[in-house]
């Protein structure tokens, strides 16, 4: 490596081109700053494309009783009151404008009879609230944002992996990475860096996430000195495919339940009734008939006083229910439960859930209009993430911003379906504005320390020049098996301690990773850098889970089964000290009185 790496200086560098990264880049460009958008895959392939059900926004088109206040309350209740209150508030307030803005940029949502954006019901939402396009809302959203970004002439660096952020005492100065196509090093000097890299699903064996979701942003932020919060809260989506083996974990949209899908065990029993939390039971239908009335009204986009079916409980709860049914021997042949929508007319199912129909037909040979699907929990989303300022997305490191799944706080202990797409839009826009403002406040061109760049280059080359060492594919399997078996839906102190010890061993083995082949589009080589990130965030998840000695939302401790008042006002925080992670707690400031009243407002509709 004699030649200096290619340089692409920008005011703001956005890392990650899913919904949050694209929306952020659009905001930066709209404010007149120079922006570069870097992504690991081709543009338009990020996981946002997989989002199916819809984007939550209190537009009130189907039920005019909806309001931002109700959306806020649902989000706080779903998040078990651990959410960053200001984020939840801004999110509920601004989501409708962000959705209309998408329509203004060319998105074509499904319509109500009076020609407005149609909204569908979803788990934990009091009213039908999800603007959608059949069950391919994410594709519509990412394509709309992509088209907008292209029309604005935003510079996109596709198939680039960022391995290091460079810093000086006053903040970040740029990013270092490499181009997948030829493997050459690239540097991006920047006055502000915005992380929008998404989640961590690849830490687990069974996940709905693609190869990209290896905790890159969380790990880069930790190494740059930022804090992570709430990492113990990993969402296991209740319905992933369980068969065939090659698609185990693949998402089955919650829209199936939103449209009336019924969960049954191998005895044919509709088991969700018995898993509803007592304090929320009044929000759900009491009988099959009432649930059926609700489904019929909802299919016709009519308001109804019938309450929603028990399958629309929050995701944490439905996942635990399915897990328990399977463990107690009432599972389906391939270790899941049955999800049935075939009692509705076949053409209605095909129209409302076209991609689910195709997915089961093509990949499992199952016709969902004729019989039930088999489904089980799959690692889907991390509620925790980089600690950010609600208004601007600023992290605790000057010049470093974060938005979307990589950021923590918005969703508390459990995210409601549909709230992630709205999160991407609301906080993508805000963090974009925050990063642009930061860049505007800095006069000098950023200076990336050549010593840091040299160290990054050496680290990049190392796994290719080693002879003999650890195979990254095997080591990732070990890590995934550890997380799946010891840091899953139900946790105990002894399992978590065991996991932390094993992750320590894996970290040690990762010092010696070695891959064959050259630099051009070498997936084994790329995995080395992802694995390093996965180890950091797996460690952060396990350690955070050990510290939170209670059960709340997606974090269920068998040894501490109760939700404890003492833990509602505390975040578990992780930061990095040299090569070790340090875990502690930090108090959450008390909610303003009026906000608390809103969040705790009783009852459903």
């Amino acid at each position: 490596m004699i030649s200096a790496p290619d340089r692409h200086p920008h005011d703001v560098l956005v890392i990650g081109a899913g919904g949050a990264g694209l929306r952020a880049a659009i905001e930066v460009a709209a404010l007149g700053a120079s922006v570069g958008l870097v992504c690991k895959s081709l543009l338009g392939k990020a996981h946002t494309v997989m989002a199916e059900g819809g984007v939550a926004a209190a537009l009130g088109h189907v039920d005019d009783r909806d309001s931002w206040q109700t959306h806020f309350r649902d989000t706080m209740v779903g998040g078990k009151m651990l959410n960053n209150v200001r984020m939840a508030q801004l999110h509920a307030l601004e989501a409708p404008a962000r959705v209309r803005e998408l329509e203004g940029w060319g998105a074509v949502f499904d319509r109500t009879r009076d020609g407005r954006i149609l909204q569908r019901p979803f788990g934990g939402h009091t009213h039908p609230r999800l603007a959608h396009v059949g069950d391919r809302t994410g594709l519509e959203m990412i394509r709309t944002l992509q088209d907008r970004a292209v029309a604005m002439g935003i510079a996109v660096y596709m198939e680039h992996t960022i391995t290091h952020l460079t810093t000086n005492p006053s903040g970040v100065t740029g990013a270092f990475g490499y181009r997948r196509l030829d493997g050459d090093a690239v540097v991006f000097p920047a006055k502000a860096i915005l992380l929008a890299t998404g989640g961590i699903g690849k830490a687990y064996e069974v996940t709905s996430n693609s190869w990209e979701y290896s905790g890159d942003g969380q790990a880069l932020a930790l190494r740059a000195g930022a804090e992570l919060i709430d990492m113990e809260f990993v969402q296991f989506h209740p319905t992933g495919m369980v068969w065939p083996p090659g698609v185990r974990g693949l998402l089955v949209t919650e829209a199936v339940r939103g449209e009336g899908g019924i969960l049954r065990n191998s005895d044919g029993e509709r088991f969700m009734w018995q898993y509803l939390p007592e304090d929320r039971r009044h929000e759900y239908a009491a009988t099959d008939e009432e649930a059926r009335t609700w489904v019929e009204a909802s299919s016709a986009s009519r308001q109804t006083d019938a309450r929603r079916p028990p399958e629309l409980s929050t995701r944490d709860n439905v996942s635990r229910a399915i897990y328990t049914e399977v463990r107690e021997g009432r599972g389906s042949p391939h270790g899941g439960v049955f999800l049935d929508i075939s009692y509705l007319p076949a053409d209605h199912v095909r129209r409302k859930l076209p991609s689910m129909y195709e997915q089961f037909k093509e990949l499992a040979g199952v016709d969902i209009t004729a019989g039930p699907m088999e489904v089980g929990p799959t690692t889907h989303y991390v509620m925790g993430g980089i600690r950010v300022d609600a208004e601007t997305g600023a992290t605790t490191v000057p010049g470093l911003f974060a938005a979307g799944e990589v950021a923590g706080g918005m969703h508390g202990a459990n995210r409601l379906g549909g709230n992630s797409l709205s999160d991407l839009l609301v906080f993508g826009q805000r963090a974009g504005a925050g990063a642009a403002a930061r860049a505007a406040s800095i006069a000098d061109d950023p200076y990336m320390n050549p010593v840091q760049i040299r160290a990054a280059e050496e680290e990049l080359e190392a796994p290719l020049s080693r002879t003999g060492g650890t195979d990254p594919y095997r080591l990732r399997e070990q890590l995934q098996a550890t997380m799946q078996s010891l840091v899953g839906i139900y946790r105990t102190a002894s399992d978590l301690k065991d996991a932390i010890a094993r992750i320590g061993d894996i970290r040690h083995l990762a010092d010696d990773l070695c891959v064959p082949g050259g630099r051009a589009f070498n997936p084994g080589w790329n995995l080395v850098f992802e694995l390093r990130n996965l180890i950091d965030i797996s460690d952060a998840i396990a350690r955070s889970a050990l510290v939170r000695e209670e059960s709340r939302g997606a974090h269920s401790r068998l040894d501490f089964p109760a939700t404890e008042k003492a833990w509602v006002d505390r975040n578990v925080v992780v930061c990095r000290d040299g090569e070790t992670l340090v875990v502690g707690t930090s108090p959450i400031p008390p909610m303003p009185k009026d906000v608390r009243a809103l969040a705790e407002a009783g009852g459903g509709a």
């Binding site: 997989m50 093509e362 990949l363």
Partner: protein, 267 residues
């Protein structure tokens, strides 16, 4: 279960291409991409494969399986005779990067030339009202996952026979989505005629055949666009006379020099 012999193209512009053979254990329900992942994890960690969602929703894993342009994530092994080897090659219409990965950046470049969505300046978005029936056609175009299989199989693009710009099926679909958007005000007919090269398509429908989203690319997108261009720029009676006389040079709609044997994949 039995083992399957996979023949995978390996090579880059710098090294001559060869077919490497791998024996892969077959599990029930496996797709071609599963087999490629098995090879990566057990035999060739540096095998270059592009993929993301593994659910036929992102359009990353396009390749040619036994000569047919396919999404490897939805091509099930059970559709083949497993006693015969399965051959996987990169898309041929695009420059090779390495193994099964090609340089598809051309698509992103030509996309930039399409005049973007242009809503009316005088109606605020809150007041837009459309009926579901009015947008179903546009939603069909917007199902496109950009797998570029239609571009791969399009003989105008594949054979590189023309110097003139040509959007290819994917971007004609995108242009159709904009043109038929219920509230768009831009007129792209001039663009489609000149920079878009719509006349080069001679509607052999190969693109429609390979579309994993089952978009009727030719019938529902390209032909209606051709009609718009023709209505706008070509007097139909003059066109009729030109066709009768066999004078093709001045009739852009029939000017494609490519042969109409759309199934030709031998080049």
């Amino acid at each position: 279960m039995a083992n399957l012999l996979m023949r995978i193209f390996r090579g880059s512009p710098k090294e001559p291409g060869t077919f490497a053979e791998f024996e892969v254990p077959v599990e029930e329900g496996m797709v071609v991409l599963d087999a490629l992942h098995w090879i990566q994890a057990h035999a060739a960690p540096d095998l270059a494969v592009r993929w993301n969602c593994k659910a036929a929703k992102c359009g990353s894993c396009s390749a040619e399986v036994n000569g047919r342009p396919s999404l490897t994530c939805k091509t099930r092994l059970s559709d083949f005779d497993l006693d015969e080897p399965i051959t996987v090659e990169p898309m041929r219409a695009f420059p090779l990067v390495r193994d099964l990965v090609t340089d598809v950046s051309w698509n992103y470049e030509i996309n930039r030339s399409i005049p973007p969505f242009q809503p009316p300046a005088d109606t605020p978005v809150e007041e837009w009202r459309w009926q579901q029936e009015d947008i179903e056609r546009v939603q069909e175009y917007r199902k496109c996952i950009e797998c570029f299989l239609c571009q791969d199989v399009c003989h105008v693009l594949r054979n590189h026979e023309v110097e003139r710009p040509f959007l290819g099926p994917r971007f004609l679909v995108r242009a159709a989505g904009l043109e038929m958007h219920p509230i768009d005000t831009a007129d792209r007919t001039g663009y489609l005629k000149d920079d878009g090269g719509i006349g080069l398509c001679n509607i052999t429908k190969c693109c429609t055949e390979v579309c994993p989203e089952h978009i009727k690319i030719t019938d529902n997108a390209i032909i209606p666009l051709k009609e718009r261009v023709a209505d706008r720029y070509y007097d139909p009676i003059q066109m009729f006379w030109r066709r009768l006389r066999g004078d093709r040079s001045s009739a852009p709609a029939a000017a494609a020099p490519a042969a109409s044997d759309g199934g030709d994949r031998s080049s």
